[in-house]
């Protein structure tokens, strides 16, 4: 990746690497990583906080990002935890967080650096608002190609999109194997393996690196960033790139896209009858069920 950063800066086509990034890249050059150490990319996403009420804009059909606070998706944090656990056992592991998000998402992505990732790549471009899965996968695959990662880690489904299709789409773009829905992950000897829950049972699966994996919420919760991490994050390389850097045209009409054609809000449910148990609550419950032919 370091090599490719220097090539990019000479081809004139790329945004200049800022001073801070350059210095830290030079410092990194002093400690050439061991050949065996892994380069891991973790895809993270900024989502509306699901503890608040999530809103859809009824005109555009897009998430109304102003309506609730934005947070790093919990499953993305767990994905990062998988990578950081590997880094704990092999300090030379390089962990990059990659996110496609509006340019206001800097603080959310920086949280990944504060937790312990080494650097961040933020793909921000106005023309990505409302991107469908196809465009999103194309953009993320292009961002991943620049880094030649051994392992790409994602969450199994995001909180807002709930698609769960990006990992396999990336695998197809990159010609990596996909190992999705893992509830355990082992990394050793150039392979990734784990347990994959499917309808009717559990598979033990494995793939040679490089590979794309997605993980489920059965994996551990993420560590909290500590003060040291938060301070260190400010100095870590944080690259912001746009679609022209990736040579992608979001408005290319020759590619089939999925579009929202209608969106409507359902009337909220209303609270019904509520009784306080004074020794007879179970009987009242049974009567309600019987009366409504639900018993």
């Amino acid at each position: 990746m370091i090599g490719s950063v220097w090539t990019r800066s000479t081809d004139g086509n790329q945004p200049p690497v800022d001073y801070e990034t350059k210095v830290s890249l030079q410092l990194e050059l002093l400690h050439e990583p061991k050949e065996s150490s892994l380069k891991i990319a973790v895809l993270v996403k900024e989502v509306p906080d699901t503890y608040g009420d999530r809103k859809l804009n009824l005109e555009t059909g897009l998430a109304d990002r102003g309506a609730s606070e934005a947070v790093l998706d919990e499953i993305g944090e767990r994905a990062l935890e998988v990578a950081l656990t590997q880094k704990d056992s092999d300090g030379d592991t390089e962990v990059t967080v990659i996110s496609m998000a509006p340019d206001t998402a800097t603080a959310t992505i920086r949280k990944g650096l504060a937790m312990g990732a080494d650097n961040a790549v933020h793909v921000a471009d106005e023309s990505l608002a409302g991107a469908d899965l196809g465009l999103t996968a194309e953009v993320l695959a292009a961002a991943l190609r620049r880094g030649e990662y051994d392992l790409v880690v994602t969450g199994n489904v995001s909180t807002d999109g709930n698609g769960g299709m990006i990992p396999a789409m990336l695998a197809e773009h990159l010609d990596y194997p996909h190992v999705t829905g893992l509830s355990t992950v082992e990394l050793a000897d150039g392979k990734v393996a784990g347990t994959r829950g499917v309808e009717g049972g559990q598979q033990q699966v494995s793939a040679e690196l490089p590979a794309v994996i997605s993980i489920t919420e059965a994996l551990p919760e993420a560590r909290f960033p500590n003060f040291k991490g938060i301070m260190a994050a400010k100095k870590k390389p944080f690259e912001v790139i746009s679609l022209s850097d990736l040579d992608i045209d979001a408005e290319d009409q020759s590619v089939a896209r999925s579009i929202m054609v209608t969106v409507a809000e359902k009337p909220p449910r209303e609270a019904g009858e509520k009784v306080v148990d004074e020794g007879n609550g179970g009987v009242e419950l049974a009567e309600y069920l019987t009366k409504n032919r639900l018993a």
Binding site: T180, G197, Q202, R257, A264, R269, K274, V275, G281, L289
Partner: protein, 325 residues
């Protein structure tokens, strides 16, 4: 070479280790028949005969069978879908919205440059083509999506489509599949989870009784099961109950678990966090028992009992059993 109907809808189905057609077949073929002529693609590691026959019974006007190597994760299936789509030129490709289904759909969409719609809860055809209906943010919104052009790849939510297709006479042919040579992962082993219980399956159940953290332990979770058995219901749980080890993850209801929409949903010792509601708030009738009268679950409950579930539930079971006898 037989001709395929102009309005073919390719339905991607898998035969299990015993050669039986997987369960979502009826719904997917039913949904396909609403928008065109269902053509089934049956992926099988062994013999596909029984599954192909079943597909016709469930409404497939034609069935293609493809042998997939056992132990290949995903790419062989995608090669087969590509071959089937080339042969049939369908108006849409339907895939069950399962982990494997989403992987196949995602890869094939990239390979073919098609638009993809995920987790459809309904299917329609209008003058411009196929439109997928969705239930978004836990049922708070309904939306629909369509491709800008071309045949969409649609994953269909299990339990969402009620239409069933008329039986067709069997019309099966084996498909020639070219190996794309894509790198793939390996399935090294498989352990079936044997459902020992005779309870209905959570997904698609007419009644669900769920327990939360308030149930307190794995042992006391039996009370949830007892109530479920009294009502003939499936057993569900909140994430907190799953995390605490009271019950297996496959019973989790909510945003990151199963979405259910039964006639009756009973929440026992569940606070009603928004992520839980996301998986059950479209239920027809919601009943809650919680000792905290302020618990948000009561905001959406048609009938609520504020009280200790260990008192209320045994009494309700007893009362219902008395009525029965």
């Amino acid at each position: 070479m037989s001709e395929f109907p102009q309005d073919s809808i390719l339905v991607v189905l898998t035969a299990d280790a015993e050669g039986q057609l997987e369960k979502p077949a009826a719904e997917l073929l039913g949904g396909a028949a609403e928008i065109g002529s269902p053509v089934a693609l049956v992926l099988a590691a062994g013999s596909a005969d029984a599954a192909a026959e079943k597909a016709a019974e469930l409404g497939a006007t034609a069935t293609l069978t493809a042998a997939v190597t056992e132990g290949n994760l995903g790419t062989a299936a995608v090669d087969a879908v590509a071959a089937a789509a080339e042969l049939t030129a369908p108006d849409a490709v339907l895939v069950p919205n399962t982990l494997d289904g989403r992987d196949i759909a995602g890869r094939y969409a990239v390979r073919s440059g098609s638009a993809v719609s995920v987790d459809a809860t309904g299917l329609e055809r209008d003058s411009e083509g196929i439109v997928a209906g969705h239930s978004v943010y836990g049922g708070g919104y309904t939306a629909s999506s369509a491709p800008t052009f071309g045949a969409p790849i649609v994953t269909v939510r299990l339990g969402a489509i009620e239409a069933r297709a008329e039986a067709q006479s069997a019309n099966t042919q084996a498909l020639d599949v070219a190996d794309s040579g894509k790198r793939s992962a390996a399935i090294d082993s498989f352990e079936a989870v044997v459902e020992t219980s005779s309870r209905p399956e959570l997904r698609g159940a007419q009644k669900v009784v769920s327990g939360g953290r308030g149930v307190g332990s794995e042992e006391s979770f039996e009370l949830v099961g007892d109530f479920a058995d009294t009502l003939g219901a499936a057993v569900g749980a909140s994430r907190a109950a799953v995390d605490a080890g009271y019950i297996a993850q496959s019973h989790q209801v909510g945003q990151t678990g199963v979405s259910v929409s039964p006639q009756l949903y009973v929440a026992l010792g569940i606070s009603g966090a928004i992520q839980h509601k996301a998986g059950m708030q479209t239920s027809k009738t919601i009943v809650a028992v919680n000792k905290d009268g302020e618990a948000p679950i009561f905001d959406i409950a048609d009938f609520g009992v504020v009280g200790d579930l260990f008192k209320v539930v045994p009494q309700a079971i007893e009362s219902l059993n008395e009525n029965k006898s």
